[in-house]
């Protein structure tokens, strides 16, 4: 499926290598200063300030450091990284190169989702082209002592490998399982070296920011959520596709743009995100309100929310890495609970117990996957309890 690109993307108007050239001119501290000033936060969903991350890695004392581009785009309903990788690959690699320059890394790795293997020849071609143009390799753009190259590594289909420490484990050839944090990858990452792991989109915006300036980016969006963001919109709407909007727009506004005005709910942030009911469509898509990695799934009036919840729990029962107890066993219990609801055999008391379990999973799981896995369940139960429990009364 080729997803539609809707409207104009800022990425189209960025002059090639303008960001990289500006970065080399500004010096390492200058790059990090610019990024920090821009207010750019991680576009994978967690929203960690990119400037802070790069600064920590830059400050870490090590001869060897790494830049990792997280292209393991596995969140259900997300496909914007695929569009970026196919249409704007040079900008992604430029962002990685800037990252390498900023933290003092010589090696970058693009960790590509297994299912995106068809993109690899294209990406390799772009890399080869960049090597030819001395945008990668030694003495990049004539800068003495700036050597950087990028390799591509394939993921093997595990959702958890989108979690940065599991991704690193996978890169090292191990079973993809999250590590204990701290220590964080910025000081103990790939092969125990300081490593920045950034989402495809984050790196692309980094290149844009260096090209157009922090002030331009900071001006867009809200106070705490600066800049633009790509959204993958799917579900019950007339114009699904990839959109670029400033952060901070309301759910209602987005629905208007995509032709989903009569939605009964919107799943923001994919399986690990939360379900926003129609009554809350005035809420904003921003880190301080409803955060998202870009996945927007629209549910029309005819959708059965129990089915929706089940679908998400099926996903987590499949994708939990199996390492920690709350996620491994908890998701199974939530799914079983939904099955009971479907059969009209789940008591209110047990449902409350499952919600408490969901709270435990959110705080006691080892990694972000487990911590976010009950979010969809909890928000659907919260907002659609009558619909869910209706099964019971209907019998």
């Amino acid at each position: 499926m080729i997803s539609s690109r809707r409207g104009n993307f800022t990425f189209n108007g960025i002059a090639p290598e303008a960001g990289l050239k500006a970065a080399l001119q500004k010096g390492r501290a200058g790059v990090i200063g610019e990024l920090s000033a821009s207010g750019l936060k991680g576009r994978g969903g967690a929203g960690f300030p990119t400037g802070v991350k790069w600064n920590l890695a830059a400050a870490a004392k090590s001869d060897v450091k790494y830049v990792v581009c997280n292209a393991d785009e596995g969140e259900p309903g997300t496909f914007k990284d695929r569009v970026i990788l196919s249409d704007f690959a040079p900008l992604v690699f430029e962002g990685m190169t800037i990252g390498g320059w900023a933290i003092g890394a010589k090696k970058g790795v693009l960790y590509l989702r297994g299912e995106y293997i068809y993109l690899r020849p294209h990406l390799e071609k772009v890399l080869a082209e960049r090597r030819k143009q001395n945008l990668l390799g030694t003495k990049i753009l004539g800068k003495d002592g700036f050597d950087f190259d990028i390799g591509i590594r394939m993921g093997s289909g595990a959702y958890v490998c989108g979690e940065e420490t599991a991704l690193i484990e996978s890169l090292e050839g191990h079973r993809g399982e999250p590590r204990n944090r701290p220590p964080f990858p910025v000081d103990t990452g790939f092969q125990n070296k300081p490593t920045i792991v950034n989402n495809v989109e984050t790196l692309t915006w980094a290149a844009c920011i260096l090209s157009k300036g922090a002030a331009w980016f900071k001006k867009i969006g809200t106070d705490k959520s600066a800049g633009l963001k790509l959204y993958s919109v799917s579900g019950d709407c007339t114009r699904p596709g990839v959109y670029e909007f400033p952060l901070g727009i309301t759910v209602a506004k987005l629905l208007g743009e995509v032709g989903g005005e009569n939605a009964k709910a919107v799943q923001v942030g994919g399986a690990s995100g939360r379900c926003v009911p129609a009554s809350e469509f005035a809420r904003t898509l921003a880190f301080e309100d409803v955060p998202t990695g870009g996945s927007i799934i629209v549910f029309g009036p005819q959708r059965d929310m129990l089915r929706v919840a089940r679908n998400f729990m099926d996903f987590f029962v499949e994708e939990s890495c199996g390492q920690c107890t709350p996620c491994r066993e908890g998701n199974v219990k939530l799914l079983e609970g939904l099955e009971l609801l479907e059969e009209g055999r789940c008591s209110m008391r047990y449902l409350r117990e499952l919600c408490a379990l969901g709270e435990t999973m959110a705080v006691a799981s080892k990694c972000g996957l487990g911590q976010s896995s009950p979010t969809a369940f909890l928000s659907i139960v919260q907002h659609f309890q009558d619909e869910l429990m209706g099964r019971m009364h209907g019998r």
């Binding site: 870490a60 004392k61 595990a158 420490t165 690193i168 484990e169 090292e172 191990h174 079973r175 399982e177 999250p178 590590r179 204990n180 701290p182 220590p183 000081d187 103990t188 125990n192 987590f316 029962v317 499949e318 994708e319 939990s320 890495c321 199996g322 390492q323 920690c324 107890t325 709350p326 491994r328 066993e329 908890g330 998701n331 199974v332 219990k333 117990e353 408490a356 379990l357 709270e359 435990t360 959110a362 705080v363 006691a364 799981s365 080892k366 911590q371």
Partner: protein, 642 residues
């Protein structure tokens, strides 16, 4: 005695499971700096990088754990030890969270209690726990946790049917994955502590399970049977292959003459199964208890430990002579010890080209079996067919060893049954015997005299110390006490993972009678320096073997002691559960204390041993008959052969 079983830096464990290493502080003044942690309102000062769990221990605050084990690297997977850390949105695993700046921690808030309870409830929802019929009943960490967290019903259900077939394919270790709670202590034991790597987690989510290569039965993979995984399993998912029923049946059979030998390590540890503190030896109380259980004779494995020293020591002298006098380039030096069956299987799998270095002497357990079914049978006019030999060992690998096909040189199986410390404790309890309060009694003749050298076989370095006591005296013609106070050869003791010592042979004495058929004089050893190595735990064995492969320091050694288990036999896979550095140190102390108490402390002075060479093994150590009965050969198994 600080134990450093192995260094962290060359760990093969997945990074997620390695011990935390802190980057050195950027400011030199911060090195060794103390940080204050406030736990439940109590301030405690700890060095930077200390985990919350360790800090809490220091403050005397208990945080329950499950996947954490003192001997192992950190996993942080069970999430039992979660605590609230001020300023953190989520709960943090106390075992894995290093303190690098002042912290405020709360260990039992509502959120924490609820999380802990849920985790236990979830574990119980998949744990096929049949507590009544489980050998870990009353010694199960999950059971204890359920009680501690106040579990009074199965909130999320409880399995009524087993999901997996129990794997009984191994002679030594039984795996029941229905009871597994996926704490992965066994995985970390096998991969990181022992560096054998038979067990690893496979599958995802609810299908996650601990499995062998291609999920083969344990008896068909490169498991060395050390049983260290059993000692660290919190539940009954791993246990030793238990022959208790067969042993009772033999005792109950009036036609059978059932003899048991007891090894030093179980005697130093069995009290732990009866509520005694670690390090209380019950050697002579056990003799009485065994008789009351119905064993016909109780012998001391020390007797054949002494015999092993003479056989293995003589073999070493033969190898040295071949190398130094005959200049035979093919002689395999250093000689490796062969008494640890886990170690033997390890080298058979992983370093087949070094097998010629392994002493051909059988282990003391097997030697005893061979002697009982020949010499002892004849002496007592018993048909070997009617003798049942039982061995009390600290070891699960001994069960495999006694089932080796080659271990029946007398025409009968040397040892019929190997019992672990735990299994024998169970038999004693079943018989209603109050072991700690039994009157003391001696071992039976004709092997009643034991020496201190035999006893210390139980601790890492003990075989080497026993061998050195004998070799020094036989070769130098001096008293070992003249070189080492009280004959305590301190340089070879301790818990350092790999140790090395040199003993210069400055003078030589006359050749003792027992060795006269082999050597005329010792002049060829004069001025030589005896170089020895000691290691315990197969991860350390691997280091030594790699060093030998690379032509390093240990390739220059003459004799190296290898023990498969951390701490030596006293930390064996058949010992009481739990285990830990402090417990092993206490057992070691008991063993060295027992050594001090013996009148005879050197193997070559054991009158019973000298008598057997006079009466039975008349062609001496490494002679024809001893070769037939007391020596063995090994199989180059490699990594693909069972």
């Amino acid at each position: 005695m600080a134990e450093s079983v192995k260094a962290a830096d060359d760990s093969r464990a997945p990074v997620s499971q390695r011990p935390k290493t802190m980057a050195p502080p950027s400011d030199i003044r911060d090195i060794g700096a103390l940080v204050t942690v406030n736990i439940d309102g109590q301030d405690v000062k700890v060095p930077m990088g200390t985990t919350i769990l360790e800090a809490a221990k220091k403050a005397g605050i208990r945080i329950p754990t499950l996947c954490y084990h003192e001997d192992l690297c950190i996993a942080g997977v069970c999430r039992i030890c979660v605590v609230e850390v001020d300023g953190q949105r989520t709960l943090q695993a106390a075992c894995a969270y290093p303190v690098t700046s002042p912290l405020k921690v709360k260990t039992h808030t509502r959120k924490v209690r609820q999380a802990r309870r849920h985790v236990v409830d979830l574990l119980l929802s998949t744990h096929y726990g049949e507590c009544y019929s489980c050998f870990r009943n009353n010694n199960c960490e999950l059971q204890a946790l359920a009680k501690e967290c106040g579990v009074d019903f199965f909130r999320f259900g409880h399995p009524e049917q087993p999901r997996y077939e129990v794997d009984r394919s191994s002679y030594s270790v039984v795996r029941d994955m229905n009871k597994c709670v996926l704490c992965r202590r066994c995985v970390r034991t096998c991969i990181d502590l022992q560096e054998v790597g038979v067990l690893e987690a496979i599958g995802r989510s609810a299908n996650t399970k601990v499995a062998t290569f291609l999920d083969k039965p344990l008896g068909e993979v490169v498991c060395i049977n050390c049983g260290q995984c059993i000692n660290r399993c919190p539940t009954g998912a791993l246990r030793a292959n238990d022959p208790t029923d067969e042993v009772w049946a033999a005792i109950d059979d009036p036609k059978k003459h059932v003899v048991i030998q007891t090894a030093p390590s179980p005697r130093a540890a069995i009290g732990e199964c009866f509520g005694q503190p670690p390090g209380k030896a019950l050697t002579f109380e056990l003799n009485t208890a065994l008789k009351q259980c119905g064993f016909d004779r109780v012998f001391d494995t020390n007797f054949t430990a002494d015999l092993t020293i003479l056989e293995e020591g003589t073999e070493l002298i033969i190898r040295l002579k071949k190398a130094l006098v005959d200049k035979d380039p093919l002689v395999a030096l250093p000689q490796f010890t062969s008494c640890s069956p886990g170690w033997v299987k390890y080298i058979e799998h992983f370093y087949t080209e070094l097998l010629p270095h392994v002493s051909s002497a059988k282990s003391p357990q097997q030697m005893f079996g061979a002697i009982i079914k020949t010499y002892y049978a004849k002496l007592n006019k018993l048909d070997p067919q009617d003798i049942v030999t039982v061995a009390l060992m600290p070891c699960s690998a001994k069960k495999f060893e006694c089932n080796r096909q080659e271990m029946c040189s007398s025409g009968y199986k040397d040892i019929d049954y190997g019992l672990t410390t735990r299994e024998l404790a169970q038999m004693i309890k079943e018989a209603g015997i109050d072991l700690p309060n039994m009157p003391k009694s001696n071992f039976d003749d004709p092997f009643g005299t034991a020496t201190g050298s035999g006893v210390i076989f139980g601790a890492t370095g003990g075989v080497m110390e026993a061998a050195l006591r004998t070799v020094v005296e036989l070769v130098c013609g001096i008293k070992v006490e003249d070189l080492f106070a009280h004959a305590d050869i301190i340089p070879v003791r301790g818990f350092e993972g790999v140790r090395y010592a040199e003993i210069p042979i400055t003078k030589v004495g006359p050749v003792p009678d027992i060795l006269k058929p082999l050597v005329k004089d010792w002049n060829w050893l004069k001025g030589a320096t005896l170089k020895v190595g000691i290691c315990h735990g197969t991860a350390n064995a691997k280091k030594v073997l790699e060093d030998i492969r690379a032509g390093g320091k240990f390739s220059e050694c003459h004799f190296i002691e290898f023990m498969a288990c951390p701490g030596g036999c006293l930390g064996g896979g058949g010992q009481p559960i739990p285990t830990g550095p402090a417990i092993r140190a206490a057992r070691a102390k008991a063993i060295y204390d027992e050594d001090k108490g013996y009148a005879i402390r050197k193997s070559h002075e054991n009158p019973d041993v000298l008598k057997i060479y006079k009466d039975f093994l008349t062609d001496g150590p490494c002679g024809h008959l001893s070769h037939k009965l007391l020596h063995t050969h090994y199989t180059a198994r490699g990594k693909y052969i069972v």
